[in-house]
């Protein structure tokens, strides 16, 4: 049983009588990335919040069942909830820096758990910021307020803060949904690196992200566990119709590209102008693929196209410098 990190046994959660999770039995593998997928309101976040007991904060939540983390039942009233949460870190959807300096954000957890020695704290802060890929960007301004960082940097800071208490499990609740494509990519790369030392559970709406990251996949639908298994099996040969429908619904409708334009070497705002001109010539519903390499364009082109009422179907990194943006023409 060494390869199982968390064992969820008969978990039921309801809010004021509305069932959010029904009889969940699930083993989460050790040091792998487990992705929880499913439509909005299916109980993904409830499951995640049950694992670190943040669900206790929700008024009217009723919880039955057990979640085992090597010999400890997380759900038991006898367990000290603070030591459970120390072992199970959380990265939330919206980056949430604490109202203090960058240094203090990372040192917050260790200090609470009794680390006082300045040298030891310095070392922990540095190594966690390095692991989160933030050290070089902030090493000269550790004392400035964390809220001055960009959103993407804040999310990596939150990662560093979670790592600082040396958890075993890292829960990620749609950790990239508030971020631009470059920052999302950055976080995804960190998670892939981290899985050699941590068990990672990620909730995601983005099936492509699940495909890129997951070793193990859990599909929830309306509070029920529909299917779970190794990613290769679930994605390629889903056993359940509902899983197949969910995966197909979000993946296979990806339409072929009608026109492709290459805007490499074009700076903003030239690349908007070209992208717009190309869309002019398309029929509604047709798809344009744009290749860009100008850093601002990666976030701004999709934003501008959505602003114009078109639908951005995807943004993907192709290599070191190049990104593709896929846009479907709307009215």
């Amino acid at each position: 049983m060494n390869d199982i990190c968390l064992r969820i046994h008969g978990l039921n959660v309801s809010y004021d009588g509305h069932t959010a999770l029904k009889n969940i039995y699930l083993d989460i593998p050790h040091r792998q990335i487990t992705a929880i997928i499913g439509p909005s309101g299916c109980g993904k976040t409830t499951l995640l919040r049950s694992i670190n007991r943040l669900i206790d904060l929700t008024d009217g939540a009723k919880i039955r069942g057990e979640i085992w983390l090597d010999g400890h039942n997380v759900m038991s009233d006898r367990e000290d909830v603070t030591s459970i949460r120390k072992r199970i870190g959380l990265i939330s959807q919206k980056p949430s820096p604490l109202p203090m300096s960058i240094y203090d954000n990372v040192a917050y957890g260790p200090r609470i758990h009794g680390m006082r020695d300045r040298k030891e704290l310095d070392k922990t802060v540095r190594s966690c910021l390095e692991t989160a890929g933030l050290w070089t960007e902030v090493k000269d301004r550790l004392q400035s307020p964390a809220t001055r960082l960009s959103v993407g940097q804040q999310q990596r800071l939150c990662l560093a803060r979670s790592l600082a208490v040396r958890p075993e499990v890292l829960l990620c609740d749609e950790p990239t949904s508030a971020l631009d494509p470059v920052s999302s990519q950055n976080i995804e790369n960190r998670l892939i690196e981290l899985k050699k030392d941590y068990t990672i559970v990620i909730v995601t709406h983005n099936i492509h992200q699940a495909m890129r990251l997951a070793d193990y996949v859990v599909h929830l639908y309306l509070g029920e566990l529909v299917e779970h298994g190794p990613a290769s099996e679930v994605f390629q040969r889903p056993k359940q119709d509902r899983t197949r429908a969910y995966i197909n619904g979000t993946v296979l409708t990806k339409p072929r590209t009608d026109v492709e334009i290459n805007l490499k070497g074009k700076v903003c705002p030239l690349n908007f102008v070209f992208a717009k001109a190309a869309l002019e010539n398309l029929e509604i519903g047709q798809v344009l693929k744009v290749i860009v390499d100008y850093p601002t364009a990666i976030t701004e082109v999709p934003r501008a196209m959505e602003y114009d009422g078109h639908k951005v179907l995807g943004v993907k990194q192709l290599n070191e410098t190049d990104w593709e943006v896929i846009i479907q023409k709307r009215e």
Binding site: N52, L54, L57, D59, T82, S83, I84, R85, K86, G89, L90, S92, K94, S96, P97, L98, P99, M100, Y108, G109, I112, H113, P145, T147, C158, R161, S162, A164, V165
Partner: protein
């Protein structure tokens, strides 16, 4: 030709400017008027005699305001010391700890407290604190307790709003690394609320400085500098309320009273400005 809509826009802008200006001018107008009326006494008595002397003998032309200024400071500061921790801890309990049912009851109760007229507090203080009940007597402590009870709803109410503004995400971030509820309250909730708490405190103190009726009834009204909370005091507000319009036959008496009013205005203004400077510092640090 200007369209009707543009005209309405123009007129409303000017109207709002006028309304704002009116408020600002009123403060200036009051200050100038008080100064003009206080001028006769400023002309005859030196500033040192007026503000630093403790002798208040109007019939002999001695108008030392020092005991009254100290009376005001004693009562207000002690009230603040009593009211601040109670308000902040109470607000913290209501927002962070109380089960929904307690919260539902506590909020209206606090609002009712804020709405009770000062004179009712005064009578209650008189009966409960000064003579009957606890029988502390007529002194600074009685005045401060009554005053504290009056400003607690103000500070508590505002603090509660401020605490509620702290995003749930940030609190959860603290809990998620294994902090206890109290550690989270102290390090996250109070910390990110500091500017708001400062504002709540200014509001409370501004009310405390100016509050007259309730304090006047329990504080003793003896023109001597208090040296302990158990000494009687005579705050500026009580001096003005008790004496203006009485004994006006004594020369310069009315001028002295209006000077007291001017001093009160300046003290409140000073506290407001100082507090605002602190606020700006705090905000700069955490913005």
């Amino acid at each position: 030709m200007i369209s009707k809509r543009r005209l309405a826009d123009l007129v409303s802008t000017r109207l709002m400017l006028a309304a704002t200006a009116l408020v600002g001018v009123t403060v200036l107008f009051i200050a100038v008027m008080l100064f003009l009326k206080a001028r006769p006494i400023l002309a005859t008595n030196s500033l040192g005699d007026l503000f630093l002397s403790s002798s208040w003998r109007p019939s002999r032309g001695e108008f030392g305001l020092f005991p009254f200024i100290m009376g005001t400071l004693w009562v207000t500061v002690l009230a603040g010391i009593i009211a601040l921790p109670v308000s902040i801890l109470g607000a913290l309990y209501i927002t962070e700890y109380a089960p929904p049912r307690v919260r539902a009851v506590a909020k209206p109760v606090v609002d009712v407290l804020a709405g009770i007229p000062p004179v009712v507090y005064g009578v209650w203080g008189l009966v409960a604190l000064s003579i009957g009940g606890i029988a502390i007597g007529f002194n600074v402590l009685s005045g401060s307790i009554v005053l504290a009870i009056m400003v607690i709803p103000v500070i508590l109410g505002v603090s509660e709003e401020v605490f509620r503004m702290v995003p749930q995400d940030v609190k959860e971030a603290s809990l998620a690394v294994g902090a206890t509820k109290w550690e989270t309250a102290r390090n996250v909730v109070i910390r990110s609320s500091l500017p708001g708490l400062a504002a709540a405190t200014i509001l409370g103190f501004s009310r405390a400085f100016g509050e007259t009726m309730a304090v006047l009834m329990v504080v003793g009204n003896i023109a001597r500098v208090p040296s302990s909370p158990l000494d009687p005091a005579y705050p500026l507000t009580a001096l003005i309320a008790n004496n203006y319009g009485e004994m006006m036959s004594i020369p310069l008496y009315d001028s002295a009273i209006l000077l007291a009013a001017l001093v009160l205005l300046l003290v409140v203004l000073f506290f407001n400005i100082a507090a605002r400077l602190v606020l700006i510092k705090v905000q700069q640090k955490w913005a």
